[in-house]
C-alpha cells in the first residue's frame, strides 16, 4: 500500500487517541505520510479533523499514541520544536506588524541575521507575488492577500511539514478556486509535505495526493482521490465524497451464472432490472439473493442512450426511468429519479431534450457500481 516506512515517513501517527473527559474525539488514528505528499483530512464538522491537525501541531496534547515527524518522536515536543508551520483559517496575521515582519516573525524569533531574513522574505514574497505588499499592515490587505501572507509566513522557515487548517474557508467562492490552484502550484514547485484540513470534498479531491476521510473521530478510509471516489469503503464515504453525492439505492441482488441480477424498486411499477457482469458483491454466493445498498454515481447514470442509442448491454445498460425533477445546471442537467427508496440523481448532458414527467431511457454504467451492506454500510 501507500503507507511509508517509519524511517522514511515525514509524518507517522500511531494509535493516537484524544479524549476530553469521557468523550473520545479521536479514536486509534494511524496515518503514515511520505515526504512530498499532500494529505487532506476531510470530513463533516465535528469529525475530529481539526483536532487531529492541532494534535500534530502540538497545540493540543494527545491522550495516548505517538507522533513522529521526519523520523523523530515529537509526541511531547512543544509546537515550536516540531519543525512545522501552520496556516490558520483566520490567517492569524499579527495586526500590529507589517507584512514583512509577519512573514519574518519566525526567523526573528529564531534570531536569524537581518540580511538572511530579508533575503528569505523577499524570496517567499516573490514566489507568492506579494512583494508590493511587504510594507502594508494586515488590515490593509484583501482576504486573498492575507491568505498569501499567511502562507508566506509558513513557507519562509522551510519546515519539514506544513499544516493547513481550512485555509480557504473565509474566502468567497471565486477566490477560493484561485487560491486552491495557487496552493497546488506551490506544492508542485516546492515539493513540500502538507497536511490539509477541509470540510470541502471538492477541495480534498482537487488538492490531495491522498485523502483521509474521517467521521466521529475515526478514520474511514485513506486513499488516493481516485480510490476514495471509485471504491469508497463504506456508504458514508460514498455519500460524503462527490457532488452530487453517490446515489445509494436499496435493492436486491441475485447471482445467476455469469451475472448478478439487480432489482431496484420504483414507485410507479415494476422494479428496474440491471445485470452486473462484473464480480458483483463478493459475499454473494451463486443462486443467493440478498438485499443491499447499490451505489451509482450520477455520472454513471446518463443520457448516453438518448444520444447514441449504442448500448453494449454489458457495462452500459439502458432502462426507462420516470424523471421526477429536472435541474439544468449549466454544464450538465441533473434529473431526479425515484429509485430504490431514494431520490437518485442522473447526470445528463446540458442539451438533453428532457422534461419532468417524461419516461426517458437512462444509460447505467455498471462498471462504476458499488455495493454496501445495508446494516453496517460497509463495502461488499
Amino acid at each position: 500500500m501507500n503507507a511509508a516506512m517509519t524511517q522514511d515517513a515525514i509524518l507517522k501517527i500511531s494509535s493516537l487517541q484524544k479524549r476530553y473527559g469521557e468523550v473520545n474525539v479521536l479514536k486509534d488514528i494511524d496515518i503514515s505520510m511520505a515526504p512530498g505528499e499532500f494529505l487532506v483530512l476531510v470530513g463533516p464538522s465535528g469529525c475530529g479533523k481539526s483536532t487531529l491537525l492541532s494534535c500534530i501541531s502540538g497545540l493540543t496534547d494527545i491522550s495516548s499514541g505517538t507522533i513522529h515527524i521526519a523520523g523523530r518522536d515529537r509526541t511531547n515536543d512543544e509546537p515550536a520544536d516540531r519543525d512545522i508551520a501552520m496556516v490558520f483559517q483566520s490567517y492569524a496575521l499579527f495586526p500590529n506588524m507589517s507584512v514583512e515582519r509577519n512573514i519574518g516573525f519566525g526567523l526573528e524569533v529564531r534570531k536569524v541575521n537581518e540580511a538572511e531574513k530579508k533575503r528569505k522574505v523577499a524570496e517567499v514574497a516573490d514566489l507568492l507575488k506579494i512583494e508590493h505588499l511587504l510594507h502594508r499592515r494586515p488590515a490593509e490587505l484583501s482576504g486573498g492577500q492575507r491568505q498569501r501572507v499567511a502562507m508566506g509566513r509558513a513557507l519562509v522557515r522551510e519546515p519539514k511539514l506544513f499544516l493547513f487548517d481550512e485555509p480557504l474557508s473565509n474566502l468567497d467562492a471565486k477566490l477560493r478556486v484561485t487560491m486552491r490552484t495557487e496552493i497546488k502550484r506551490i506544492h508542485q514547485t516546492t515539493g513540500a509535505s502538507i497536511v490539509y484540513v477541509t470540510h470541502d470534498q471538492i477541495e480534498a479531491m482537487t488538492l490531495a495526493s491522498r485523502i483521509v476521510v474521517m467521521k466521529d473521530g475515526v478514520v474511514q478510509q485513506i486513499g488516493t482521490p481516485q480510490e476514495i471516489y471509485n471504491k469508497p469503503v463504506n456508504a458514508f464515504v460514498a455519500d460524503f465524497m462527490g457532488a452530487p453525492s453517490m446515489n445509494l439505492m436499496t435493492g436486491t441482488a441475485t447471482r445467476e451464472g455469469e451475472h448478478v441480477r439487480l432489482q431496484i424498486p420504483t414507485p410507479e411499477g415494476p422494479p428496474l432490472e440491471l445485470f452486473d457482469y462484473g464480480p458483483g458483491p463478493e459475499t454473494l454466493a451463486a443462486g443467493d439473493t440478498a438485499e443491499l445498498t447499490i451505489g451509482l454515481r450520477p455520472e454513471a447514470m446518463t443520457d448516453l442512450g438518448l444520444r447514441s442509442g449504442g448500448m453494449d448491454g454489458r457495462t452500459l445498460q439502458s432502462a426507462d426511468c420516470l424523471l421526477d425533477v429536472v435541474e439544468p445546471a449549466g454544464a450538465d442537467t441533473y434529473a431526479v429519479v425515484q429509485l430504490g427508496g431514494t431520490e437518485a440523481v442522473a447526470r445528463l448532458s446540458a442539451d438533453a431534450p428532457v422534461a419532468a414527467g417524461q419516461r426517458v431511457p437512462i444509460a447505467f454504467d455498471l462498471s462504476k457500481i458499488s455495493y454496501f451492506d445495508i446494516a453496517s454500510g460497509n463495502r461488499l
Binding site: 495586526p95 500590529n96 499592515r137
Partner: protein, 297 residues
C-alpha cells in the same frame, strides 16, 4: 442639512444642558481665570480687588515651593500610574487564565476600586499606624524590621506609602480594562506565534500587548489625569506632611486658597496645574491615536 427651523429647535433643546454646563463649568472657569489676574483674598470684609496682570503667575513660576510640589506630583503620578499599569496588566493576564474560582476572583478584585477614596485612605492610615499598624506587625514578625516605624510620619517614606495605598485602590480599574481587552485577543494569534517559535514572554510583548494597547492607553490617560490632580487621599492620610513631603500641586492650591486665603494667587496655581494636565492629555491623546491607527484590524 438642517433647516433654519430645525437649527433653532436644536438650540432650544440644547439650551438647558448648556445652561447647566455654563453654570457649573464655564462660569467657575472664567471666574478662576479672572481671579488669577487679581490680588483677591478670601475675607469676611469686602476688600478692594486690583487687577495685577501676570504678577501671580510670575510669582508662582518662580516659587521654589510650588516647583517642588509640581515635581512631587509628577513623581506621584509616574510611580503610581506606572505601578498600576504593570500590576493591572499582570493581574489581568492571571485572571484571563482558566482556573477554578476564576469568576469569584474576578468579582473580588474590583473591591478596592469600589471603596471610597476617603475610606481607603483611613484604612491605610491604620495599616501604617506607628504603634498598632498591620504593616509594622507583619514586617516585624517576618523579621524584616526590628522596630516599629512611623511609615507616613517619616518624610523619607511618606510619599511612597501614599503611592502604595493609591495603587492598591486603583490597579483594579486597569486590570478590568486590560482583562476585557485580553478577552478579545484571538486565540489563533497566540497559537500562530507559538508555532513560529515565540515563547510566552515574546508572545506577550509582540502579540498581546500591542493588541490591548488601545484600551490600555485610555485607562492610563484617565488614571494619569486623576493622579495628577491627587488631593483627597493625601488630605486624609498625611495632610501634605510630614515636612511637606507629600504636598502635591493640588494640595498646594488648596492651601493657598483655604489656608492662606489668597484666592487670586491660588487661582493662578490652579490654572497652571490645569494647563499641565492639558499638556499630558494632548500628549496621551496623540500616542493613543497613533496606536489605534496601526493597531487592531
Amino acid at each position: 442639512m438642517l433647516g433654519r427651523r430645525q437649527k433653532r429647535e436644536k438650540w432650544i433643546l440644547l439650551a438647558p444642558a448648556l445652561a447647566v454646563l455654563a453654570l457649573i463649568t464655564l462660569i467657575p472657569l472664567a471666574n478662576t481665570l479672572w481671579l488669577s489676574f487679581t490680588d483677591t483674598r478670601i475675607s469676611a470684609l469686602p476688600e478692594p480687588v486690583h487687577f495685577i496682570g501676570l504678577e501671580n503667575y510670575v510669582y508662582a513660576l518662580t516659587d521654589p515651593d510650588f516647583q517642588e510640589a509640581l515635581f512631587r506630583t509628577l513623581y506621584f503620578t509616574i510611580v503610581s500610574v506606572g505601578l498600576e499599569g504593570v500590576l493591572g496588566v499582570a493581574v489581568a493576564v492571571l485572571l484571563n487564565q482558566e482556573f477554578r474560582g476564576r469568576t469569584l476572583l474576578r468579582a473580588l478584585i474590583i473591591l478596592p476600586w469600589a471603596v471610597p477614596t476617603i475610606v481607603n485612605a483611613v484604612a491605610w492610615r491604620l495599616i501604617y499606624h506607628p504603634d498598632y499598624g498591620a504593616l509594622n506587625s507583619l514586617l516585624f514578625q517576618l523579621g524584616i524590621i526590628s522596630d516599629y516605624r512611623s511609615w507616613i510620619g517619616d518624610p523619607a517614606t511618606a510619599m511612597n506609602m501614599v503611592i502604595l495605598a493609591d495603587v492598591w485602590k486603583n490597579f483594579p480599574l486597569v486590570a478590568y480594562v486590560a482583562l476585557a481587552a485580553l478577552q478579545t485577543v484571538p486565540e489563533d494569534l497566540s497559537k500562530a506565534a507559538a508555532i513560529e517559535g515565540a515563547g510566552p514572554w515574546k508572545r506577550f510583548c509582540s502579540i498581546t500587548l500591542p493588541w490591548i494597547a488601545g484600551p490600555l492607553m485610555v485607562v492610563m490617560v484617565l488614571r494619569t489625569i486623576e493622579a495628577f490632580r491627587v488631593f483627597d487621599i493625601i488630605y486624609v492620610m498625611t495632610g501634605g506632611g510630614p515636612a511637606d513631603s507629600t504636598k502635591t500641586a493640588s494640595f498646594y492650591v488648596y492651601q493657598e486658597y483655604f489656608n492662606y486665603l489668597r484666592s487670586g494667587s491660588g487661582a493662578s496655581y490652579a490654572v497652571l496645574v490645569a494647563g499641565i494636565s492639558a499638556v499630558l492629555i494632548v500628549f496621551y491623546y496623540s500616542v493613543t491615536k497613533r496606536q489605534t491607527a496601526g493597531g487592531a484590524a
